[in-house]
Assembly symmetry: C2
Homo-oligomer: 109 residues x 2
DNA sequence: GTCATATGTAAGTCTCGACTTACATGCTTC
DNA sequence: GAAGCATGTAAGTCGAGACTTACATATGAC
């Protein structure tokens, strides 16, 4: 895991509102408008947070049609279990050393 | 663990520069000026990040005097291993429900 | 004395992310 | 038709945090 990937997850989860979002859908999938009402949060704002969480791979969204024909966008938790400690952080940062100018294009020195 | 504590750790670690700081002192304790040189970062900026990390309990600083008499502020890693998953997040957010107006002062309803 | 090193902090700038308001669209139901 | 509820997005405001420059202080070496 590169530090960029690690950072995406940590920064995504390092926000009070997004913690609440995650905690709210632990119980099960929910569509955006209902989730917004439950959290007392404006829908566009929730949208932004959900996008961020989805990019980090923590939640998964899917647009579906209800029986009545309405489009509902459901979000559910993606399984994740990240261990944050000195080793994982050091490993992620070390992974960034690859891909620097020194070995770009793999031209032998 | 309350969500406030969890958030302090996650937000502290959710920043590229601070990840680099942690990765750099995994190898051993180091004083601020040397660390700043190694990371190519201004010392006041590094200071700010170190303060943030220390408040979150991820690093520990101690002001010491070298044999030559100069004051050096050493920082080292505090042991930590945080598991970030749905359960820990839900538990932290749920912990915040305590201490709300409903049960402040413990007056029985 | 001056120079080089260290810590600590104050003050200012500036960018990015959080947040709001508003609008467009589509589908039901009345 | 109008009303209600859903998604999706554009545009603008605002504040916190990241970052820089600058200064004060202390010590040792020359």
């Amino acid at each position: 895991m590169t530090s960029e990937e690690l950072l995406a997850v940590l920064a995504a989860v390092g926000h009070a509102q997004r913690l609440r979002v995650i905690a709210e859908i632990v119980g099960g999938r929910m569509y955006v408008s209902e989730l917004a009402r439950r959290l007392g949060m404006s829908r566009p704002l929730l949208y932004m947070h959900l996008e961020r969480l989805e990019k980090a791979g923590l939640v998964v969204g899917s647009l579906e049609l209800s029986k009545s024909g309405k489009a509902l966008k459901y979000f559910e938790l993606a399984p994740f279990d990240l261990h944050v400690n000195a080793e994982t952080i050091a490993a992620a940062v070390a992974a960034d050393a690859k891909g620097t100018v020194s070995d770009v294009k793999g031209i032998p020195t």
